[in-house]
């Protein structure tokens, strides 16, 4: 697209019934000015005005080098293209949107008992929310280093990039948003001038509540606290879960969960059913995403001319897409239930044993892991007491 502007002498006439648009501009040709007006120089000067005529064109052959920039109009998501793009996006999505177990290379974290990993997960959720900012940043650094050490390079680069981006956005938004905008509600506390009390003394140690100002927004200590808590919590939550899932099989996780839940069987909680349901869900979730992707791929491959469809017809295709997904998923569920029956499952999770064949003997990795856990919890407690 090319925009040009040039200065052209024009005259603006007063609004009349024949020209309802007051912005209509007419080029001024001096020859068209009536002769009697020409003779009057004052009138001539009064009608002469300078205006801009702006012309815009989509295709500009003189500026071929800027085609990428100039073609932005065609990239605007119109109805037809939007529907096509949505299906294309779904059809190219991964079938494993959640993190999955990476069997090789086997690291020391693979050999850590899954129960210890679950305790670690709990600690990494609680600590960033409750400890000092130094401790929070330390936990983020610790999780980052552990990810770099444990995960394959392409995996940690991808994961850390995304999680850092998410945490960064959260940090900025909450840091500037939580306390940045002055409150609209007036404080009910009378100012010191009325109450006769002296103003609060300025901190001798250089303390300032406001850390930074960005135009109308300000970054305060409250903002820093809220933002760092939320960002660190998000980071540790995502990354520790990713590390745990990457180094633990779903069965190991389910069995660790069962171990912690076993006491609940005494109050009638169906622990065996919960564990089996969890395992089936972990298997089934990939089938669901496969179906979502495959049905979208089927629609894309039909090469539907979305431009010719009305809005209702497009909605109808989306509705049939959703219907087909559900139909296929229920068919899968039926077949899997038949397979379970054929393979000897009779509906009682307590009598049908689910085996986890991974070795679960306590080793050095477990001791080291527990030691690190105790150290970090201790450091968090000490940081609360000694760091202000």
């Amino acid at each position: 697209m090319n925009c040009t502007h040039r200065t052209t002498p024009t005259v603006t006439f007063s609004l009349s019934s024949s020209h309802p648009n007051p912005k209509t501009l007419f080029r001024l040709f001096r020859t068209q000015i009536p002769a009697k007006n020409r003779q009057n120089p004052r009138l001539y000067l009064s009608v002469k005005k300078i205006s801009f005529v702006i012309r815009a064109s989509l295709h500009d052959s003189s500026n071929k080098n800027n085609n990428k920039v100039g073609d932005w109009v065609s990239r605007l998501p119109t109805g037809a293209f939007a529907a096509d793009n949505v299906f294309r996006l779904i059809s190219t999505a991964t079938a494993s949107p959640i993190y999955q177990f990476i069997a090789s290379p086997s690291t020391f974290l693979h050999s850590v008992d899954p129960r210890i990993k679950l305790v670690w997960l709990l600690v990494l959720v609680v600590l960033p929310a409750r400890s000092h900012i130094v401790m929070r940043v330390g936990l983020v650094l610790y999780t980052t280093l552990l990810s770099i050490w444990i995960l394959p390079k392409r995996v940690w680069m991808d994961q850390l990039g995304r999680v850092f981006l998410l945490s960064g956005i959260l940090f900025i938004m909450l840091g500037l948003g939580s306390d940045g905008v002055p409150s609209l509600v007036q404080s009910r506390t009378p100012p010191p001038a009325i109450s006769g009390l002296p103003n609060l003394p300025v901190s001798l140690g250089g303390y300032s509540y406001s850390i930074m100002k960005l135009g109308p927004l300000q970054f305060t200590r409250k903002g820093l606290s809220v933002a760092s808590t939320a960002a660190c919590l998000t980071f540790t939550l995502f990354q520790s879960a990713s590390l745990c899932l990457a180094t633990t099989t779903p069965e190991q996780l389910a069995f660790a969960l069962r171990w912690f839940m076993l006491p609940l069987t005494y109050i009638g909680v169906p622990v065996a059913e919960i564990v089996l349901t969890l395992l089936l869900s972990l298997r089934f979730i990939n089938l669901v995403f496969d179906e979502v992707r495959n049905v979208a791929l089927g629609i894309v491959s039909r090469r539907i001319n979305w431009k010719q469809l009305t809005m209702l017809e497009s909605i109808d295709i989306f509705a049939s897409y959703i219907r087909q997904i559900f139909k296929n998923i229920f068919s899968h569920a039926e077949q899997i239930s038949q397979a379970m029956i054929v393979r000897g499952f009779r509906g009682d999770s307590n009598t049908h044993k689910i085996y986890s064949l991974s070795d679960s003997s306590v080793g050095i990795a477990d001791f080291v892991s527990l030691l690190c856990l105790v150290t970090i919890v201790g450091a968090a407690l000490l940081s609360d007491r000694f760091l202000v």
């Binding site: 177990f101 099989t249 779903p250 069965e251 395992l279 972990l282 089938l287 009779r346 085996y355 064949l357």
Partner: protein, 264 residues
Amino acid sequence: MNLSSLVRPSTLALLPPLHSTLPSRIDVTENAAAIECSNLNYSITTRLHRSVPILKECSLSVPSGQLWMLLGPNGCGKSTLLKILAGLLKPTNGTVFVKRPKSYVFQNPDHQVVMPTVEADVAFGLGKLNLPRDEVKTRVSKALDAVGMSKYLQRPVQTLSGGQKQRVAIAGALAEACKVLLLDELTTFLDESDQLGVIKAVKSSLGNSGEVTALWVTHRLEELEYADGACYMENGKIVMHGDGASIMDFIKTQQSSYTNQINS
């Protein structure tokens, strides 16, 4: 090869009457039947309360320790017959005998594999037997070894290819040490090398034990050379059973007659 494109229902009128040739490698006196059904009928009732016959007077006998194949065009009732033999469907009438324990492997491995990780899935069928952990581990290891998947013990199932999933499904059946394997079009989704790998895995499991019997539903004629015997179905009936070579000849005759019919 998809037989449905070559052998049409319209050719049924040209078929010879039901007959049987005894497979050359079978000694009937030594091998009792592991799978047997006679005069089996199965029909479904539509919403308009109309009875639609799916299987008509099917009779079949598979001797113990052999691999038999069941062929026929699409929709002729092969999978239905197999599901009845597996106990998933109840026949309308007729008699069925299948040695126990038996195992059924689905056409689509995604329907068969129920656990998220390979070793857990292979061990799933053993859950009913209440075996010691070491025994389970040995069985799983042997079964995966038999199908060439011993290196994939802890692999998540969704990261496997179609052929690998199919092998895991077969390993699950083998781990149960079943007497009878009912296999429904195992090689449909597989390429040539995976197809050969799966057939050899089944054959080796039969050869190792000597007591395992397998009934394999297939569309692929080239798989017949691995079979000890075969049946050919059409329109819900078993129209022929015998050794692999005779069934192959029979199908080729059908194909040529159908081709001649088109060309004339």
